[in-house]
Amino acid sequence: MKLFIRAFVVFCVLMTGVIGVMAQDDAVVTVAFAESQPTTLDPHAARTNDDFLVIRNVCEGLTNYDPVTLEPIPALAESWTVSDDGLVYTFTLRSDVTFTDGSALDAADVKYSFDRLSDPAFGTSYTAALVLRDVAGWAEARPVAPTVAEGTPTPEPVAPAGQISGVEVIDPQTVQVTLNVPVTSFLTRLTLPGGVIIAEGSAEGSDFLATGPVCTGAYTVESWAQNDQVTLIANATYWGGAPQVQTVNIRVIPEASSQVIEFEAGSLDISLAPEADLPRIRDDAALNEQLVTIPTLSLYNFRVNLNDPKMGDVRVRRALSLAINRQLVIDTVLQGQGVPAVGLYPPGLTTYDENYNAFERDLEEARALLAEAGYPDGIELTVRTDQNETENRVLNAVAATVVEAGITFNVSSTEATVYTTDRTECTMELGGIRWTMDYPDPENMVVLLLPNAATRVNCGYGTVDVAGEISDLYTQGISLPFGEERDAVFRQIEQIAMDNVLIVPVYHGAFTRLVSSRLGGTPIDNNGTLRFALMDLQ
């Protein structure tokens, strides 16, 4: 009994003794991961937004993107030239850059980083293909297993090259990259997290999980306490000048509403602002002032199973798309955060045309199309989704609006893993896809229509009538110089996709955050990434 009493006393002392809110340190900024926590700090394996948040603040590539216009700007490469045929890029590296381990940046580091990214054993991130797939030597770095007829002995698999031959060291300050196809967006693709440069040899036996990568950025990883927080400290030798914010704590707070409470309690400088909390936040003058909305280059859409008897009929797809009251869904569920999607491209891309509307809501026509397709009494469709709360609310709102056209829209929500599997095998009529662009170029939107992933192949995107036409236009578009001609080709793809309703667009999302009024500068760039080096403390 005495033990219990003692324990109780100790507890009470603990309870009263340590009470008190810590004073905010001027040079410390505390934020939270948007999803959960990083899966890795290895830039070549990074694949989630939480991974990218750390890597984008710790590492840099040859190019970076402008925080406002998102155009590629010089980073580790101070300049570059492009050959007349658009195939050879020659980068001149900055001469004043050192890695956080003290070594100076040279061309060998660039070669090492791209070789490692090309190696299937290390470059496991999907960004590896986005950065390097059009660079000469990619095919040798990622040999495709040949398909053999049944009964034929399987040939020995070709070993990956272990390096990418299209990236060459010319001299210590010069790197040359040769492409197979003159892709105009190559400089933009280099800004992806997979394209960052790490110090030569630094990944050998290194435990990225504990120490973070050896990079050149404005911050270095001080520590990563699993499931708790990642701490970044300013890189005093940063070539761009030491940033004002000296320490950044990125906490792991997976519950969005907990983040809001932390923000209100003053222990977070930036938090998520989930839709459910928005009305309350807007009613609170002080909070409302700190609410920031940034439109994202994204498209929430339904992928359709083009092989399905119902969804394979373009009339059914069109009827569904015409029946959705997109503005109502945005106003009610998303609290007005977003823009109706009635085409392929989100606002912010040069190919976006605000006057283009492929799906003006028309219930009469929707009913007529359904009747014509053999469903005069309406149709029952089932949309698949994971357990994302917002998405489920959106789908239920969509269901409430399309019922007016005689469409019974069932929402089937399952665990993310189950949905991913069924989506990959396309055992569904249609399914929700949250697509956020990897880089700001229309070609990255067209990906949604291309049969270059198992998930779309299985849904019939490779065998639909217009597949060849889209693929030809895509190949043509990616090589054209930026400008009207290129945009026109991509708009043509949009027209074909919408005429055939290959996807059902729903909305272009926006990104809402609570940002403490003490953070000036550009705390969040237009890509939705937190940029600690660009923050001014007020």
Binding site: A45, T124, L209, N227, Q229, E262, V418, T420, W435, A454
Partner: protein, 306 residues
């Protein structure tokens, strides 16, 4: 005693093996493919196959089982599919947090629960008894996630006395421990009250009172020590369940414990991580059960293990 102890340890081996096989089978029966989940919406057949091979999921199930089993016997729990970190490291990092939370919650539950139980039993049917029973009723009825949120709002947001969430072996522990302790506290209060009431009707208590002993001495010395057996049993299983993850509490307070790790791992079909965690939980349960059994002869000298 030692013989009994060793026998129990040996009996534990088939239990562990059974748990292991069951977990392995259950995870594979679940729909959803870890490789497809990792590849998301972008993987082509080629990258899917590569990922499967990397995770060892291209092997036949029996081979997978034997490989996992061989490693497990050597104490090697494999690497997480998602983070590629050794599972033993992940558990090693989460365990101290869960242990700290469980011990704090247990201390609160034991002190408050047993005190309330004694008070209630001594003042049966009085206002104090009713208040204590009401607290216990609330304790077992209130969902922990609601309680957690109320604690956050009151102490974190309104009073600004305590951190709302986060890890740390300091004041960060207070709110989660209080939230986690409530259920166990209520159960301990109820069991203490009922067993004590039973004991208080025994002849030897009447004798003790008849001898003119101080009521406090009667309770602490004669009654409680005889009522301890069921309390210890409840305490043992309660502590085991706290240790195996106070999941909801960990989620609400963003506390980096094992319960959260398990749920995240199941969600991502991270087989090595799930298997490692389940084995750890099994060990904790079995260990604590054994510990409680070892306590019995101390609590009640009439119990002997031959």
């Amino acid at each position: 005693m030692l013989q009994y102890f060793l026998r129990r340890l040996i009996q534990f081996i088939p239990t562990l093996l059974g748990i292991y096989i069951l977990t392995f089978a259950l995870m594979r029966v679940l729909p959803g493919d870890a490789a497809q989940f990792l590849e998301g919406d972008r993987g082509d057949d080629q990258s899917l196959a590569a990922t499967r091979a990397r995770l060892g999921l291209d092997e036949p199930l029996t081979t997978q089982f034997l490989l996992f089993f061989r490693d497990a016997v050597q104490g090697e729990l494999g690497r997480s599919f998602i983070t590629n970190r050794p599972v033993s490291d992940m558990i090693g990092q989460a365990f101290p947090h869960t242990a700290a939370l469980a011990i704090c919650a247990m201390l609160i539950a034991v002190t408050v629960g047993i005190s309330l139980g004694i008070t209630a039993a001594m003042t049966q049917n009085s206002i104090w008894d009713n208040i204590a029973r009401l607290i216990a009723l609330i304790g077992v009825s209130v969902p922990v996630f609601w309680l957690g949120l109320q604690l956050q709002i009151l102490f974190g947001l309104q009073l600004r006395l305590l951190p709302v969430s986060g890890a740390g072996f300091d004041e960060h522990l207070i709110l989660p421990s209080v939230a986690a302790s409530f259920g166990m506290m209520a159960v301990l209060m109820r069991i203490t009250r009922s067993t004590l009431l039973e004991v208080l009707n025994q002849d030897y208590i009447r004798t003790a009172r008849g001898k003119g002993l101080h009521p406090r001495r009667v309770i602490l010395r004669h009654a409680i020590s005889n009522a301890l057996l069921p309390i210890v049993t409840v305490w043992g299983t309660g502590l085991a369940s706290l240790l195996s993850g106070t999941l909801l509490v960990e989620v609400i307070f963003s506390y980096p414990g094992m319960g959260r790790l398990l749920v995240d791992s199941i969600g991502a079909r991270d087989y090595p991580s799930v298997q490692g965690l389940v084995i750890t939980f099994a060990l904790i349960y079995a260990g604590l059960n054994l510990f409680v059994d070892m306590l019995y002869p101390i609590v009640d000298p009439r119990i002997r293990y031959a």
